[in-house]
């Protein structure tokens, strides 16, 4: 399967199963488009008819180009066949090793954001705080079930994890204390709304947190529309200076400024550029996931606007890079040379198998987005995974389990998408959330175009 598209002056041909990316001129673009179902002489005729005045488009040129295409095909870089499907069906026998946990250390929040999928941090339940004992047991559970994996990830999530900061610190200390003996290395992530960030939080995080995710939606009026405190006041003025200090102190350590866009700000690149103006360079912006009757839900009419926004963003990022002050956007980070292997690309996100969420009272769910939905209760950190049928279901929830993905060119970049979104949109974890797919494919087109532009620029000495 191949995918062809034109963007920002580039004609791009993607060979889906090998991952090869080709930038071609419009003649080759047309020839490649016809190659699989048109006889050679017919291709020659059509191309000569289409480009009658071009001296560089003769019969010989067209035949040369077809030879080049065939050479690429022989090298496994064009029209490569799918040889991976069988691997995916073997996944049921995949190991049960776990390598990441999301610890819901606080099901409570000091903000009252209207669109929060966790309903004000409580996940449709009662307010709750994770005790040190539960957290410690979760870490022991992770280590015990991590097999030979060395790198283990632990996410401090909520609600607002800083509302249980002492426990977070003690858990980090505990995990570090067993690293050597167990031959593990922990990578911690903190996600925060910023309200309780202070110097002590910043110092500790800089020592211990591999990544810090700070929630900011962009422009003041956009941020404050949803991200309000219980008195109804927007939180922008309170959190922005704290995030700026935090981000500066991170130096070259990882952090993300993460926003959500909704139907109210389909011009979300303004928010991304606003973040950049505030001095942040590692940015992420996500489409809201909510019920279609919610007024903030994105609509069909929004789609073309959003597509255009993603293009604006890609072009502007290339400009910033050329001018020497680049920003990164999470969804455009794609490393064509050192990206994931095929196993990773077809195995899905890992929810319910190698990744699970732990509630404040120690229950296990397939991921943070399933927390609170009793049907998805998997077990607990003392007894481990009890609902093994559910685990098997998640194991098999990969890109080849979704018939909608069969013909999708983006499948090896997406791995079948987010089971939680699919579940919320279709009632099945193996469904597909079409709207999300459309945005995803657009983002991948932009990201691949940017990589192509950068690598061609480097070749031409522009970098």
């Amino acid at each position: 399967m191949i995918h062809q598209y034109k963007l920002n002056g580039y004609n791009i041909v993607l060979d889906v199963y090998s991952g090869a990316v080709h930038v071609v001129d419009e003649v080759a673009y047309d020839i490649i488009g016809m190659y699989e179902n048109t006889p050679k002489d017919e291709i020659v005729t059509r191309i000569l008819n289409k480009y009658p005045d071009r001296t560089d488009v003769t019969e010989k040129d067209v035949l040369d180009c077809i030879d080049d295409i065939e050479a690429l095909k022989a090298q496994g870089k064009l029209f490569t066949k799918d040889t991976y499907e069988g691997m995916a069906f073997d996944f049921k026998r995949r190991s049960n090793d776990i390598k990441a946990l999301c610890l819901h250390v606080a099901h409570t929040c000091n903000l009252n954001c209207q669109y929060c999928f966790a309903s004000q941090g409580k996940y449709q339940g009662e307010r709750a705080i994770m005790s040190y004992e539960v957290g410690k047991q979760a870490i022991d559970f992770l280590v015990e079930h991590s097999g030979s994996h060395v790198n283990l990830e632990v996410d401090f999530f909520g609600g607002e994890p800083l509302m249980n900061w002492d426990t977070v610190k003690r858990l980090v200390e505990y995990a570090r204390s067993i690293e050597r003996e167990k031959n593990k290395h922990f990578r911690f992530t903190l996600t925060t709304n910023g309200v309780l960030v202070d110097d002590e939080v910043i110092d500790f995080s800089n020592r211990e947190m591999h990544n810090v995710v700070m929630s900011l939606d962009g422009r003041r009026e956009v941020h404050d529309r949803f991200r309000k405190d219980y008195a109804g006041n927007g939180s922008y003025d309170k959190v922005v200076p704290k995030f700026q200090k935090f981000a500066r102190a991170r130096g070259d350590r990882e952090y993300y400024i993460r926003g959500t866009y909704t139907h109210y700000n389909t011009d979300f690149t303004k928010d991304i550029f606003h973040m950049a103006d505030l001095g942040f360079t590692k940015l992420s912006m996500e489409p809201v996931v909510c019920s279609p009757d919610d007024p903030c839900a994105l609509t069909e009419e929004d789609l073309p606007v959003l597509f255009e926004q993603y293009e604006i963003l890609a072009k502007d990022m290339l400009r910033r890079e050329r001018e020497g002050h680049p920003i990164t956007f999470y969804h455009y980070m794609i490393d064509l040379k050192h990206g994931p292997c095929i196993y990773k690309r077809i195995s899905g996100c890992g929810s319910g198998t190698e990744y699970m969420a732990v509630t404040p009272w120690g229950d296990l769910y397939p991921c943070h987005q399933f927390v609170g939905d009793e049907k998805y209760l998997m077990g607990n950190v003392w007894e481990g995974v009890k609902n093994t049928d559910l685990r098997d279901k998640f194991k098999l929830c990969n890109v080849y389990a979704r018939r909608d993905c069969d013909d999708c060119w983006a499948k090896l970049y997406c791995s079948g998408g987010c089971p939680a979104n699919a579940y919320h949109a279709t009632g099945e974890i193996t469904g597909t959330y079409e709207y999300g797919c459309k945005l995803f494919r657009k983002r991948m087109e932009c990201a691949i175009m940017m990589e192509a532009a950068k690598s061609l620029g480097a070749e031409n000495g522009q970098s």
Partner: protein
Amino acid sequence: MKRIVTIETRDLAKSAVNGGCGECQTSCQSACKTSCGVANQLCENREEK
């Protein structure tokens, strides 16, 4: 090749032979938390970089 420039990419078919160590990050773990893609993950298999 006159009309085609091929960008350097990891050969996915070859990665079926040398990949699969499982040391990379899980997909939803870093910035987004509401949706995933795998393409932005980095391979951590030192031998195969």
